[in-house]
Subunit: 180 residues, 2 copies
């Protein structure tokens, strides 16, 4: 694959993410993505042979980005759990919205398109369990962190920004104590 194709594919994914976060997960259609990206529908399907392939690529990129962000924090000395919590704090609202809607779109399209996400979750859990010695509180903290953005994804979070902030700080303190 040459450079031009790579750029185009990236632009298509970008457009798909934009559609998802601006118009909602249910509006991610080939027509709409084509319109927003500026390419034709035929062009889209040249690079991604089906809608499923497009959504899969979209999800995969988000998973990769997330993993990279956590690994960077861990390279700076953080434990896996703290890195997860911190990475949640630092993500821009736009990125979180993108992620949320993309995942929602994938889930609605077909259960199974989220397998890469599940795999990523599993890896994260293993790391955290290994570091904490299977401490259940560490697992609870990890789940709580997940809940924060899963709730945001569905716009059902009962917490306002300030409450969320305070809670994340508490979680980070507990994480530091648990992971020596």
């Amino acid at each position: 694959m040459n450079k031009r194709a790579k750029v185009t594919k990236a632009q298509i994914i970008e457009a798909a993410l934009a559609v998802a976060s601006e118009k909602g997960a249910g509006k991610v259609t080939l027509d709409e993505v084509a319109k927003v990206s500026g390419f034709s529908k035929g062009g889209l399907l040249y690079h991604y042979p089906s809608k499923e392939a497009l959504i899969t690529a979209m999800v995969q990129q988000l998973v990769d980005d997330n993993a990279a962000s956590r690994q960077q924090l861990m390279a700076q000395g953080d434990d896996a759990l703290s890195a997860m919590i911190k990475s949640h704090v630092h993500l821009s609202e736009q990125v979180q919205c993108n992620t949320a809607m993309a995942i929602l779109a994938a889930a609605a399209e077909q259960p199974g398109l989220l397998n890469p996400v599940q795999q990523a979750c599993r890896h994260l859990l293993c790391d955290i369990n290994a570091e904490s010695g299977d401490n259940p509180e560490a697992m609870v903290l990890m789940l709580a962190c997940d809940a924060l953005w899963l709730q945001d994804m569905l716009s059902i979070s009962p917490l306002d920004a300030e409450q969320k902030d305070q809670l994340l700080q508490y979680m980070l303190r507990r994480a530091k104590e648990l992971m020596p």
Copy 2:
């Protein structure tokens, strides 16, 4: 409203839930629900004037059921947090799958159809905060409980049944200690 109408409306909701959990959130269409329920599409739209109305009713019923289940536990002396955790434990897999897919369908259809769910979450949070004296660990436990079924909803849970069971037991123990 007539008794006959009530029964029909309930059957339609039931069929919609069945479609959602068996075929996936994205496949909840009027035609499909009509086929499964045994009524015609015209019949559906007589009782629920739009797809949106149908999905709204579906979500509302789940919210009501859940609230009822928790209130029953609380009437037996449980605190709000323990009731939430216990209610998660006791729900059948079928009900959880129904709930998950219905909510997913609603979210994909239109953000905002989940407002009743958000409101329910808010109430629950208020109750738990009031009972625990704003203890952050109680909030974390609540979030973890949410995460358990949000993850199931997307089939991205990294925990197997046994791990989940043990974790819920731990959470229940902590809840009992926090809520005297």
